[in-house]
Assembly symmetry: C2
Homo-oligomer: 549 residues x 2
């Protein structure tokens, strides 16, 4: 196996730091600490790749090393296809991944093109060279739980607890994110090895073998005002039902079992893990019905807990749909996490803001963390996150940080980083990017744009305008993808990355891009009729022609 | 009814000519001479609109009048949604029309959103403000016939003749385009009023009541070395069959009846027009079978003429599919017009290049025509077209011209126009744009990208890269649409318009945009494995990383 890692340090290999950043970041995406299957160029998310194949990868690197300061490289589904003269304020790389004319936008046709070597799946940050490992999922979950505390508990999570299921790949971030956000948590997981893994990495505090034990641990912690996360070995459907039956009242209820996959994702009640795995081999179709029946029981318990006063939400695993299929008519009585907690943030232009130290120096991130706190002195959740992240997040590949910021802060932070680079306070330039899951950058009717107020869930003019605007504003690279997160046919989304190299030119571009990018999300939500977005637009001075008239 | 017309003359209403151009061109699109149904904001192509509604139209105009020289207006499906600070080399307007997440990309969902006021259909040049009336269809047909002459007759159309059917809205351009390209033509049309209309506008030379008469007229003209177009009143299926039976040999055979619509588009054999129209009201479904049977007869005759040596092609009316449905197994033995004649042009980066005189002065177009001939002295077809267009094309709205140019010429012509504006040789700036049907700007597997050599028909990364590249290169406005030409779900495509205002800045942008835009089409076709495109890439110095290695 070939091993790829981004070079560290302040030595330039390309014509300037904008180009060097792209050159390092594609390599960083394939760092064995960062990527899931670097040997297949797979970064994360099933088959999300950084380049179409090794030949393309090598040519991308070679082309970037020769690229002129006023030239732009075009990348089509992971293949470098052209170099064009543009200008210094234009992006250095333009990327389009996995886009298909709608009628042909299926996994079947995609796979056929993929086999022929004509396509690759870009996911969101895999094919756009700004993945930073698992910090993203921890922070996203933290943000959701924080928003939940704001909405339901006046921002006070203390002594409150969350009931959830599943400690798998993404769900395993829940206990860490919960305690970071000030909650305690009980996470029901049927596979004890998963609990042990989370204990080992300190994402989870304790393990319990029975509901009584778990509740006792939680009650003790809450009595002392401590946060505590407990992994309970068991079937989520059984435990959720028992909690409802006993009249125990969690403050928040959600679930991250893999309910979206009724064969491999959800253990039916009454089955052992071994029975389940054997049946997955011998007769997989026979699992669906009992799994859905159990999901229905779990959702009924969630509805009961909702009626008893808990804040209940679906965490994007489709468990409501499964329960509905199995006869739970009111399964959709609790909301998905985006309409419930993320959309209000999107309305205000908040979303994921991540940065990477091209130097490879952890100190550069620590100094930039401090700068963010200095610039945004009043945001308790943000400070909390940055402090805890410093102690509990292990860097993967080039040191990086993520936090959610809005349109008033993103460009201020970007300009401040640029100044730090200019004055030598950091060892090398900083790269700022984001997930494609952001306020103005995605149309995905089953997730990010579910249940928009005006019914515009499927309108993808918005992410297209976002990509064009970021290109016009001078982002360092811009990407447009199809199918990330929810698969072929279900989403279209845009990404941008911008480099702080300490120059005046960078400062001008940063001021434009890091305002316009989130502000375009405020525009999108204002257009859909969200009052909060209209208020934010006024506050930040965003010009909306149909509203300014 | 409100009447909209673009102001003429050299007086500026906006901050500069880039913005003024957008402001005039959206109005020109709705000029009663240009638009099909200006009262509904419909420009052409069924329901292709220039703005979502009158309120949006008015706000677009008002916003453009106030727009700063470093600002960019965002338009979402005909609605002005935001104004952002960018920079002087960025587009002044960014447009996204009718884009839907693939799973929802149907007429049904579109219509629902349209009814709710959330969308509009942009077609290609309607929602991107660069429609110029029927000159485009004449010229496109001329280009196809010219390519046909080049391919089959060494460029010599003299004494050759084309057999076709249909003289309707678009098909009516055939006789004019044919004689312009040096061919004679027999066009079979069942509705005599259509023939009379084409005679009146001088698009057609003569009318004949029988095949014998038509052949006699054609033979006489050919004997004298004249071109002649004859409209023959009759049913195309009957006449095509009779011609094949008699052993008469047309040089080229095609058809532009509306075969795509088997109820309203194609008169069944043996029926009168009146019977047909009555049946369309009383029992429309009953027309389908006899219409398809007649189409099958026409296609069988076309196949026979092909075997007898004629160049036969489908002109995008789906008649092959209809005949195939009705049992003609080898219906697809003759090609569609894009793979046959247009694709070779696309491979060389050729495509539609149109310009408009913002002054409103016909003289500005005549002077620019002369400049094009001066710059490209050796292109006989081009000169022929420009000479004939001058005499036979009536301007609609602002005077405009269209001709097909490649990557070596587009920027040279653009720069020359810019110089003419600078030196006052033209009364006001010139706008250069194009259709979305161009070499690098469209993915449309049933038409423009049908049967690509590598099977990449449905890959829409290419038009997306084109839109991003034009934005990065500094086009004055850039658009990205879905569904133009072939309807919802079937196409994605990009447009660009650039203004020659006589400044140095414009010259720099023109040099980039008018090379990069067509060169990206050469790149797309080179990537698909077309030798001609690879050769063109070498010739124009286009850098293709996977080929330069
Ligand atoms: N942004 C989002 O919308 C978002 C974010 C995170 C996760 N998710 C969704 O959450 C789900 C979990 O993701 P993951 O990557 O952690 O999946 P995973 O498959 O790695 O983990 C699922 C876990 O659930 C456990 N489990 C299965 N059935 C159970 C049962 N009946 N009781 C208790 N535990 C059970 C499994 O043992 C496993 O550890 C997926 O459906 C994913 O799509 C969505
Ligand atoms: N770019 C392209 O692919 C392209 C370009 C031009 C036209 N087209 C296609 O060509 C077709 C014609 O377009 P249009 O706008 O001219 O349509 P139209 O409906 O205005 O005209 C069709 C004409 O065919 C005549 N006709 C019908 N049945 C006949 C028969 N059996 N014999 C003789 N005449 C008959 C009608 O009387 C009518 O005048 C359409 O299918 C259109 O989609 C495609």
């Amino acid at each position: 196996g070939r091993i790829v890692r981004s070079p560290h340090g302040a030595t330039l290999h390309c014509r300037n730091w904008l180009i060097e950043a792209a050159w390092r970041m594609i390599q960083n995406n394939l760092d064995p600490e960062v990527a899931e299957h670097p040997e297949h160029l797979v970064v994360y998310g099933g088959m999300g790749r950084a380049a179409r194949d090794w030949a393309c990868f090598d040519r991308i690197l070679a082309t970037l090393r020769e690229l002129g300061e006023d030239e732009t490289l075009l990348v089509q589904s992971g293949k470098p296809v052209g170099v064009f003269r543009t200008h210094v304020d234009a992006p250095r790389v333009l990327i389009a991944n996995s886009n298909l004319v709608p009628k042909w936008a299926t996994w079947e046709h995609f796979n056929e093109l993929d086999r022929k070597g004509l396509m690759m799946f870009g996911q969101m940050t895999a094919g756009s060279w700004i993945y930073i490992g698992s910090q993203g999922i921890v922070q996203g979950t933290y943000e959701t739980f924080t928003a939940c505390a704001d909405r339901h508990f006046g921002g006070h999570a203390a002594r409150r607890w969350i009931l959830t299921g599943g400690l798998g790949g993404m769900g395993g971030a829940q206990p860490l994110a919960a305690t970071m956000a000030g909650f305690s948590m009980m996470a029901v997981e049927c596979d004890e090895t998963r609990i042990d893994l989370r204990l080992k990495t300190h994402y989870l505090d304790r393990k319990a073998a029975s509901l009584d034990e778990a509740l006792a641990l939680l009650n003790a912690a809450r009595a002392e005002g401590r946060t505590l996360s407990v992994g309970l070995v068991g079937n989520a459907a059984d435990v959720f039902e028992e909690i409802a039956r006993r009249g125990v009242k969690p403050d928040v209820v959600t679930d991250q079992t893999s309910a979206h996959d009724p064969i491999h994702g959800y253990l039916p009640q009454g089955w052992t893990l071994q029975q389940w795995r054997e049946r997955q081999r011998s007769d997989p179709q026979s699992i669906i019905e009992p799994a859905k029946r159990s999901m229905a029981n779990q959702v009924r318990a969630m509805l009961a807990l909702q009626r008893a006063g808990a804040a209940v939400f679906d965490y994007g695993n489709n468990i409501r749909q499964m329960a509905h299929d199995a006869g739970v008519i009111d399964a959709f009585s609790f909301p998905g996490f985006v309409p419930a907690y993320i959309r209000p943030l999107f309305c205000r232009g908040y979303g994921p803001f991540r940065w990477v130290a091209l130097s490879g120096e952890p100190k550069d991130i620590h100094r930039s963390d401090a700068k963010v706190k200095e610039l945004i002195p009043d945001d308790r959740h943000l400070h909390n996150w940055l402090d805890l992240a410093r102690h509990r997040i292990t860097f993967q590949g080039l040191p990086a940080r993520i936090c959610w910021l809005g349109p008033k802060d993103r460009y201020r932070v970007g300009l401040a980083f640029n100044e730090m680079v200019r004055h030598g306070e950091l060892h090398a330039p900083i790269v700022i990017g984001r997930d494609h899951l952001d306020t103005g950058s995605v149309a995905s009717p089953n997730r990010e744009t579910e249940a928009m107020r005006d019914g515009s869930d499927a309108v993808s003019d918005w992410p297209l305008l976002n990509a064009l605007l970021n290109t016009a504003s001078g982002a360092t690279w811009v990407s447009f993808h199809h199918g990330g997160g929810v698969g072929m046919g279900y989403s279209q989304h845009a990404g941008q990355v911008i480099v702080c190299d300490g120059t005046d030119g960078a400062a001008r571009r940063i001021a434009r891009v890091l305002f316009n990018d989130p502000a375009s999300g405020v525009m999108r939500h204002a257009d859909a009729g969200y009052e909060e977005a209209l208020a934010t637009a006024r506050e930040i001075g965003l010009r909306l022609p149909m509203h300014d008239a």
